[in-house]
Amino acid sequence: MNNQKLFISSHAPYWHNMSSISAKSCHIMLAALPAVIMGIYQYGIPALGVVTFSVSCAMFWELIMNLVTKRPVSIGDGNAAVIGLLFAMLLPATTPWWIVLIGTFLAIIIGKEIYGGIGCNPLNPTLVALAMIMLSWKSYIDFDGALVNYDLAFLMKYPLEALKHFGTSAISEHTAVGLLMGRQSGGIGATFGLGLIIGGLYLILRGYIRWEISLSFLVGVFVTAFLFNISDPVTYAGPVFHLLTGYTLIGAFFLATEDSSSPVNFIPMLLYGAGAGCFTILIRNIGAFADGTVFAILLFNVANPLLDKIKPKAMGKGLEHA
């Protein structure tokens, strides 16, 4: 059998559905685009600056880390770009450059790379970074302070902050349609509800995110907000308001669904989503922060390994002694 012609040998299967991590990253960025474009349209060049700088920084940090740890360069998979983009979407348009630089460092290095890179992070890297920034430099990402120089054609008070301090009377001007169309202040890519919903539905239909998580998250938010609302309609806003403000929608479709930090089995996905949604409202209504999405999702990221232990019984398992 000494033939010059050799064939490539490998293990079955020999087909692949051609999906890849980079394709997935591209689709996530594509889905985020409507909301991002709306943000840039509303807040102009500064918003564009934050978005582009954040994406580049995130990729830069990943590259640095690849070189330092002497591992294959992985920015091609687009995951760093996604993290950078999502991070920017959560920030106010006027965020100073150094916050973006530090934030992306925290996201990529502390949030992801020190655990071993993509797939190994226990928490959502974007949220890790945002949480740290929120705790350290709160004033820079306080929307009312940051966006004080903007006067767009709608109420410029950050809706959740207004609600927290003045009750439902302060938010009576907001209509559901207005909120959907992005007529509210907030993060660059977090206010255009319709755009986020379209992006999210796109990702769900294409199978890039798990619908169970998004849906149960929204249901969790809705039900909890609804219960608060009927108990005291003056202090607590209605469920629709909560669904369309703050980070709820971006959380449901882009943050809670981050692969590595969310469960993959059916029941755990439902518990995870509903739990995070419920805690979002608990923090908003009785906690210290105006928006609870960040900490609620992080909390359930921590619970994820535990939740994912609830798994279906494998075929034939346990039959030996039957």
């Binding site: 059998m1 050799l6 490539i8 087909w15 999906s19 997935k24 993509i118 199978g207 692969d259």
Partner: protein, 427 residues
């Protein structure tokens, strides 16, 4: 290659070729090769048998490999033995390899003819192990057999393969005969034939109980059929026979009919050859024909760096040389173009969950792969169901990180069985 569908909410559907892609009138006959090679499936040749280079053999002659466990090969040509060697296959398994230079005239071996002349009896049973389709009849034929049901597979295990479908479609008569003989020589209560919906009509004539399966992968894998059709889930580590069921391919049943009807050992194997563009050819070749001869006859060109697969796209075995012969259980040969080969990667699992959604055995593949990558085989088996895997390959097929998951799984199973053997031998 079947790509990810545009809408990705549901599991991918891997369909079998529909009926009209099977071109019935075109069975390509492969001419007698100059040399055939026969491989045993597990045993090395032992020295207690008298078989050497230069021996003349006849068509249908038993070539004993080992006196002790009675293993043998059956020559499919008349000619002279030109080489006896050892072949190292999958996971380093060694088996005996015998090459025979073929003469153009077939002379039939008398012993075989004598054995089958008698009414269909257990006399000739000893010849049946090497039938095309590689039936595992020995377990059924032994007297203390616990097999209660025989399942005839009228649908091929792998995608793009239509060997057995074609047999059901065109060979109803001999299938019917075969079923009759099966009833005679075994004492099983039930014989079931499994076919795709478009072959129900043919299957009903065979006299076996008909069960229809949707032609979707992995419905056709034996483990899944056991569950869907028999309602039996095979626990890890048990064989089908232990559960009272024996699988046999439609081709083997027709081969059986041939043995008893025309007193001829069936030396031809039917197979599907899948070209680089996924077009298929139906082929009839002598068992032992080198793959090279088949590709030459069909004008399929291969170059260095292509991939040659014995079997179909999901479950086949890649081979490195086109000298490899057609074996009794080779239902397909697939040629894959260099440019179509997907390189697997060493990225970590990103926990996307695709594998969980497709796994028919409900295995937490995302966790399993983490353990296997770190050589934690025993934990993998205990906590993450390594041994429940039915080896369908769907997890590797959908994996976004392109991890060769099934390869890790097979390695894991192999390592575990080695460990177990070590333990047993030290006890």
């Amino acid at each position: 290659m079947i790509k990810k569908p545009f809408f990705g909410l549901r599991k991918p559907k891997l369909k079998y070729p529909v009926e009209d892609t099977i071109k019935l009138d075109s069975i390509n006959e492969i001419p007698l090769p100059l040399r055939v090679t026969l491989l045993s499936d597990n045993n090395e040749r032992s020295d207690d048998v008298d078989l050497k280079v230069g021996d003349k053999v006849k068509t249908g002659q038993l070539l004993g490999l080992s006196e002790k466990d009675g293993d043998y090969l059956i020559s499919t040509v008349t000619g002279t033995i030109s080489e006896i060697s050892q072949y190292t296959g999958y996971f380093g398994k060694t088996c005996a390899s015998i090459s025979i230079n073929a003469e153009t005239e077939d002379q039939w071996d008398e012993e075989f003819i004598k054995a089958v002349k008698a009414p269909a009896s257990k006399n000739c049973v000893k010849f049946l192990r090497r039938l095309p389709g590689a039936p595992s009849l020995s377990s059924v034929l032994s007297n203390e057999s616990s097999v209660k049901t025989i399942i005839i597979n009228g649908i091929d295990k792998d995608l793009l393969t239509v060997t057995n479908q074609l047999i059901v479609k065109t060979g109803v008569e001999s299938l019917t005969e075969g079923v009759r003989y099966l009833k005679q020589i075994t004492n099983t209560d039930r014989i079931i034939i499994i076919v795709p919906p478009d072959l129900t009509y043919q299957a009903e004539k065979t006299g076996a109980e008909v069960r229809v399966v949707k032609p979707l992968y992995p419905n056709t894998l034996p483990h899944i059929q056991m569950k869907n059709i028999m309602g039996i889930t095979v626990p890890p580590g048990k064989s089908f026979e232990e559960m009272g069921v024996c699988f046999i391919s439609a081709e083997a049943v027709t081969a059986l009919a041939r043995v008893f009807n025309s007193q001829e050992f069936p030396i031809y194997k039917r197979l599907t050859v899948i070209n680089k563009d996924s077009r298929t050819f139906n082929v009839r070749a002598r068992i032992g024909t080198p793959v090279k001869d088949i590709l030459n006859t069909l004008d399929i060109e291969t170059i260095h760096g292509d991939r040659l697969i014995m079997g179909g796209p999901m479950t086949g075995n890649a081979i490195y040389s086109d000298e490899m012969p057609v074996l009794p259980d080779t239902d397909a040969i697939m040629v894959q173009d260099k440019d179509q080969i997907i390189q697997s990667s060493d990225t970590h699992c990103i926990n996307c969950g695709e594998c969980i959604r497709v796994c028919p055995a409900k295995i937490p593949v995302n966790m399993l792969i983490r353990l296997l990558e770190n050589d934690m085989f025993e934990e993998a088996a205990e906590e993450y169901d390594l041994l429940s895997c039915v080896e369908c390959g769907l997890c590797s097929y959908v994996c976004m990180a392109r991890i060769p998951i099934l390869h890790y799984i097979m390695l894991g199973k192999h390592e575990l069985s080695q460990l177990k053997m070590l333990e047993e031998s030290s006890e």
